[in-house]
């Protein structure tokens, strides 16, 4: 569309010369000039084309100017078409002209002044052009309005579809969604999942129930919440997001659900609160799984075994209380560390031979040596299982049970059995030796005194007799102990000790030993004096032998209650400041044939002593402390005071039953 399109100007005159002169005058305007020589022809043009201005002569034959104007005006299309009459002015004509005043009518009197004609035509042409432009614009506007309306309609229907989709999504969403439709949250609806969760019908106001009481309660950290404290209400009231909170929904029908809830306020265009939206995620199952897992973890912690989890490189990811107790390492100290480095694992076979079956069969069992935090060596029965963890990482579950004490006990039992067997064999041998020994002793006794012997032969006999005495000593010690009478008598331990000390008094003096005696009680028990004397002879003898360069010998007797059993009895202790006991020897002290006295001892003294004290249901123990300047060794014997009385009662009651 050009900026200034030409408009049509219709010139009507029955005289072609006039038409021609108008044409000349108006050609300057640069518009389209249409010539019509009659009213009829003019009408035809009008109907065919859009005419901006009609320029017509009033006096024309057949159909004059006024008649033509009337006809034009009758047509609705041309009511506003501009008409310029050319005529001599008559009063009557002027009146007529007024009749056309509604429309755009003008007149030019004869003689025509070209500038005037041009100006008037030009004004109307311009008017017409503007009108046309306005029309076009109008039309275009209308088109655009239509187009927009269509677009809006389309958008609207799309929006409706979206809303419907959202509705559907909300309804099928497994997550509970609540929408508060007013700022005060008086009306809250839930989707299917939420209504179901709360035990209500979908579409119902979640805060209203038929009988006035809600079918659910909401708890947080065990505290029942009022409706105003629910997340949706809080979001609306505080105009802010309520972050995830953990809630418990307790329904009146007894069902319970754990939910994670969060809520967001809804604002309208002016920024005013118009409601809120809440999301509720049912985690009941996850929660119960968590509970199971927690229980499992607690069980793992209750286990006395060390239960640990590590990867194939030994890097620890789990360490239970049992492991803490067993190894002395706290969880936080070892997680992320290499188990084999921390525990200095000793494998019974090359480590590869442990890893190979673990990888192939998923299991390995065997004993390992480990070191505790404070450096104690442990032997553990280890069971390991390879598990394919999540994300393709494999982990090794390891359960270790401390069997150090068990192995030691087994070893001790084996040793005790071995020693017991040894003792029995020794007893049998000693018994067999006793018979010929008596005969030989008698023979040498007779030989020694025989008058036919010279001094030299008597000397030999005496030597032989002395050595025989040693044999006799061994057999006496070896055989289970010798009692002179069958029934126990009252024995004062203090008297037995005095007796022993009297026997040893020469050696005490010779060695320069200071003797301290502390008798808090006479220490009377029921027993056999000879065997008790042997016990203390052994203990005191050892103490004196341990102090060749002198020292202190302290002998005490007192009544006491044994802490471990609560039994009442007599304790006698013999302490010396002699050479002390080598820790290496401590374990073997009560073994038969164990001696530190090289050829001088039989190695049976303490073994026999222990056997005797055990017959009294007593205990014998020792403690040796080694200091820089001197050592202190203390042997202590406990004999329950009423052991024999009880034993007799027991026998009687057994017999009675």
């Amino acid at each position: 569309m050009s900026v200034n399109p030409k408009v049509n100007i219709l010139m009507v005159d029955d005289q072609p010369a006039k038409l021609l002169s108008y044409e000349v005058i108006l050609s300057e305007l640069g518009e389209n000039l249409i010539k019509a020589t009659s009213g009829r022809e003019a009408l035809e043009y009008l109907l065919k084309t859009d005419v901006a201005v009609v320029l017509m002569d009033v006096s024309m034959p057949e159909l004059n100017g006024f008649e033509l104007a009337d006809m034009i005006r009758q047509h609705p299309r041309f009511q506003k078409t501009a008409i310029i009459f050319i005529s001599a002015v008559h009063l009557t004509d002027l009146d007529r002209l007024k009749g056309y005043e509604r429309g755009a009518v003008d007149y030019i009197s004869v003689p025509v002044i070209p500038e005037l004609l041009r100006a008037k035509v030009s004004v109307f042409a311009e008017l017409h052009r503007k009108a046309r432009q306005l029309e076009t614009l109008n039309r275009q506007l209308e088109e655009r309005v239509l187009q927009r309306t269509a677009e809006i309609r389309e958008l609207n229907s799309e929006l409706q579809q979206r809303v419907a989709e959202l509705e559907t999504i909300m309804q099928v969403l497994p997550m509970g969604v609540a929408v508060a439709h007013d700022p005060e949250c008086r009306f809250i609806t839930g989707n299917a999942a939420l209504s179901d969760l709360m035990g209500m019908k979908q579409g119902d106001n979640l805060l209203k129930s038929g009988d006035g009481e809600l079918p659910y309660d909401i708890y947080q950290n065990g505290q029942k919440l009022q409706p105003g404290e629910f997340p949706v209400q809080r979001a609306a009231a505080n105009r802010e997001l309520v972050g995830t909170v953990e809630l418990e929904v307790r329904r009146r029908d007894g069902q319970m659900a754990h939910v994670l809830a969060s809520a967001n306020p809804l604002f309208d265009d002016s920024g005013q609160i118009r409601g809120a939206v809440g999301v509720f995620f049912d985690v009941t199952e996850r929660k119960s799984l968590e509970d199971i897992l927690r229980e499992r973890a607690e069980l793992l912690d209750l286990a006395s075994e060390a239960i640990v989890v590590h990867d194939s490189a030994g890097i620890l990811s789990f360490w239970n209380s049992g492991a803490e107790a067993l190894y002395g390492w706290k969880r936080e100290e070892v997680l992320g560390e290499d188990i084999n480095r921390i525990l200095r694992t000793g494998f019974p076979v090359p480590q590869k031979e442990v890893e190979a079956p673990l990888a192939a069969a998923g299991r390995w069992e065997g004993n390992l040596t480990h070191y505790t935090r404070d450096g104690r060596e442990l032997i553990v029965a280890s069971r390991q299982a390879l598990k394919l963890g999540s994300r393709g990482r494999s982990v090794i579950l390891e359960i270790n049970r401390d069997i150090t004490a068990q192995l030691q006990a087994e070893e001790a039992l084996r040793r005790a059995e071995r020693l017991g067997a040894m003792g029995r064999v020794a007893g049998i041998i000693a018994h067999e030796i006793n018979n010929p020994l008596e005969a030989i002793s008698n023979a040498f006794y007779l030989l020694r005194e025989h008058p036919s012997l010279d001094e030299e032969a008597r000397y030999y006999a005496r030597l032989a007799e002395q050595e025989l005495a040693r044999v006799a000593h061994i057999t006496r010690q070896t055989l289970s102990f010798y009692r002179e009478s069958q029934y126990p008598v009252s024995v004062a331990i203090s008297e037995v000790l005095d007796n022993v000390l009297e026997l040893q008094s020469r050696r005490v003096q010779l060695n320069g030993i200071i003797l301290e005696k502390v008798y808090r009680t006479a220490g009377i028990i029921q027993g056999f004096p000879v065997e008790l004397k042997q016990v203390f002879l052994n203990i005191v003898g050892n103490a004196i032998q341990a102090m060749p360069q002198g020292g202190r010998l302290r002998v005490r007797v007192y009544e006491c209650i044994e802490p471990s059993t609560g039994r009442q009895g007599v304790r006698a202790s013999v302490c010396d400041t002699g050479s002390g006991i080598d820790p290496e020897h401590a374990k073997r002290l009560f073994e038969p044939f164990f001696t530190t006295k090289e050829t001088k001892g039989t190695g049976l003294g303490l073994w026999i002593s222990k056997g005797i004290i055990q017959k009294y249901e007593g205990t014998i123990r020792f403690r040796s402390l080694r200091f820089a300047r001197e050592h202190a060794t203390c042997f202590s014997v406990f004999i329950p005071g009423t052991a024999f009385g009880q034993k007799q009662e027991l026998t009687v009651s057994l017999a009675a039953s």
């Binding site: 008596e438 005969a439 002793s441 057999t475 102990f481």
Partner: protein, 127 residues
């Protein structure tokens, strides 16, 4: 001639120990009668004067403790000393007055015999 030496009946199934024990006791001033079985020992005690019986414990036939019971049944005041290679006094030694281990040696044997004889003479000498 009637000797005033105490008479000891020595019982043992083994000959050498029996002879040597007899010699030791004779040297200690006792008259010694020997027997190699419990049965003959019971006969001897019934047939002649004996002051004390010294018996081995383990013998074929009746053992020492059994012998002691048989003797005490007829001669309750007869001291019986049981001599054994085992150091522990047997449980059924109720009739035995003194139990002695063979490992004790001749001197201790003589001491015990003397003590037992003295013990039994006391009540007899009182009236």
């Amino acid at each position: 001639m009637i000797s005033d030496k105490p008479v000891i009946l020595c019982v043992d199934d083994e000959e050498n120990p029996l002879i040597l024990r007899k010699l030791v006791l004779e040297k200690a001033g006792y008259e010694v009668v020997t027997s190699t079985s419990a049965r003959s020992a019971v006969e001897i005690v019934s047939s002649r004067h004996v002051d004390l019986v010294l018996s081995d414990h383990l013998m074929p036939g009746a053992i020492g403790t059994e012998l002691a019971r048989q003797i005490k049944a007829n001669h309750p005041t007869m001291p019986v000393i049981l001599l054994s290679g085992v150091n522990e006094m047997p449980a059924d030694a109720g009739a035995v007055d003194v139990f002695l281990s063979k490992a004790e040696g001749p001197e201790r044997l003589c001491e015990k015999i003397a003590a037992a004889l003295a013990e039994y003479r006391k009540p007899r000498s009182t009236p």
